[in-house]
Amino acid sequence: MLRYIGRRLLYMLLSLFLIITATFFLMRAAPGGPFSGEKKLPPEIEKNLNEFYGLDRPWYEQYFDYLTSIAQWDFGPSFKYKGQTVNDLINSGFPVSFFLGMEALLIAVGMGVLLGIIAALNHNKWQDYAAMIFAVLGISVPSFIMASLLQYVLAIKLGVFPVARWESFMHTILPAIALATGPTAFIARLTRSSMLEVLSNDYIRTAKAKGLSRMQITVRHAIRNALLPVVSYLGPLSAGVITGSFVIEKIFGIPGLGSHFVLSISNRDYTVIMGVTVFYSIILLAAILLVDIAYGLIDPRIKLAGGKKGE
């Protein structure tokens, strides 16, 4: 187990190194200097600015600085907004995004698993078809369209929820539902198919023969095994929730890290784009690693051994 985690950590660091390096060199390749705006800066000021941010030094020194500052959890300044750093943005925006993401995650897993189990237990009955129609629709609609429609119907037309902003718990519900729709549909499909597979196993027949109730069989025997694919999907799911939040936060006017990121994209605020990308990569890789370790602990059939072949 320890060897496995060590190995995975190594790969994680390599992937991270790759994306940091890519962001650094892409930033340098970006069209236009960091200070080129509508107004041309006087050459002296530009020189001073370059000196201040260390842009006049050779690239390998800058690269090394970039690596060390990220190792120290410093994601750099914003070139568009003076005095604001990426760390400021993360500190103010990430808690909001995290709350929204967790709420969406709970909805997605709870609803998805429930729908999937109902569908599997009523295989080829109307409940099954209804759940699967919902699931197919859920994965066929892009999130920004789904979110706008929900906002239009539930908030603007019916007035059930607040239209936008981030003030009370009521404000969080609609964005969380919008963010969770796609993942819910995917988890429902995943749960249904793995549940169907599990239900056809011999040990379920044994449990039936023993005279256990349907409820007991489902809850104690079937669900535990059927949920394993859902657990392994939690890694990609957290990636989906993070990238989905860019769009959702923009639509609902939520002051999270996602909307800062989208704003920095339209402002072409390169250092913020790079900093937030690296930050998100760290979070994501850590989440995926945690999920994989948890998966190994939950499923004893999976042997998380070291790097030898044929295991």
Partner: protein
């Protein structure tokens, strides 16, 4: 107990020649797959839908006298009518023409991304698995490291920095997109390469590339096809997502993603501007998904009835 008279029993005749008779006509693998696919109503519906969408993408722009880029500032935001079948947008451009023109771009992005993934993935995965040993180890480790790079973040990064356009978008999507395909092909080839027919081909003196492309790749076609049909909708999705972030194809080009993200802002007053492109995106993704699922079920011999 009911009495059964003895006369009712008759000896069963065993005809040994009958036992060897093949009752069903023998089917090739692909014939079997196509029969099972055609029995799947939902998948067939998806396939028909795809044909219609592709047909309209090719011929739709020719059905209307309007083209996709001409502004008509006297007729902005007009609802659907006999003149403009899907209405017009904020610059008076005909949405019917733009929708089908956009279909070309969105479908092209999807298909091109899937084909490039296929090409790199088959080569990478195939070579890694067939060579085995150190080559495999190194190639798959490289893939593992790239796999760790978050897909959409990298795509966004590339779209921000490089010049916006179709080519950039496809490049950004495929730069790590091929890894999934490579892994699938590798898994399949690893299973197949130790089978006797490969040994037989080697004994007969077939070259590595011949074994690879004549014997191994055709046998991995099933999972490859399924992966491809599921890559296309995810590329179309990514295109729509990028368009919404303002990183889509530049104006006046139309793609479903750019049209839908324009339409979202006008949802309250001019809903048709969102309705048509959004419906097309959903129909396309729905169609590819059900076709992909149908293919997977048809290819899976365990599901044979």
């Amino acid at each position: 107990m009911q009495q059964i008279p003895k006369e009712m029993f008759q000896p069963a005749s065993v005809d040994l020649s009958e036992a060897e008779k093949i009752s069903k006509p023998s089917l090739s693998f692909w014939k079997d797959v196509s029969i099972r696919f055609r029995k799947n109503k939902l998948a067939m519906f998806g396939l028909v839908l795809l044909f219609i969408l592709v047909f309209m993408a090719i011929f739709g722009p020719m059905m209307t006298p309007h083209d996709y880029r001409t502004n008509d500032l006297m007729n902005t935001n007009k609802p659907p009518s006999a003149e403009h079948w899907f209405g017009t947008d904020d610059l008076g451009r005909d949405i019917f023409a733009r929708t089908w023109y956009g279909a070309r771009i969105s479908l092209f992005i999807g298909v091109a991304a899937a084909l490039i993934d296929l090409f790199i993935g088959v080569l990478w995965g195939g070579i890694a698995a067939f060579r085995g040993g150190r080559t495999d180890e190194v190639m798959m480790r490289i893939a593992d490291i790239l796999w760790g790079v978050p897909y959409l973040l990298l795509v966004i990064l590339l779209m921000v920095v490089l010049e916006q356009g179709l080519g950039t978008m496809i490049l950004a999507m495929t730069i790590t997109g091929w890894i999934n395909m490579a892994r699938i092909v590798r898994g399949q080839v690893l299973q197949l390469k130790n089978q006797e027919y490969v040994l037989a081909a080697q004994t007969l003196g077939a070259s590595t590339s011949r074994i690879m492309f004549r014997h191994l790749i055709p046998n991995t076609m099933g999972p490859i096809l399924v992966t491809m049909t599921l890559t296309i909708p995810s590329a179309i999705f990514t295109e729509a997502f990028l368009s919404y972030l303002g990183l889509g194809v530049p104006q006046p080009l139309a793609s479903w993603g750019t049209m839908a993200s324009d339409g979202v802002s006008a949802l309250q007053y001019y809903p048709w501007r969102l309705f048509f492109p959004a419906t097309m995106i959903c129909l396309t993704i729905f169609a590819f998904n059900v076709v992909g699922d149908g293919l997977r079920d048809a290819l899976d011999p365990r599901l044979r009835k």
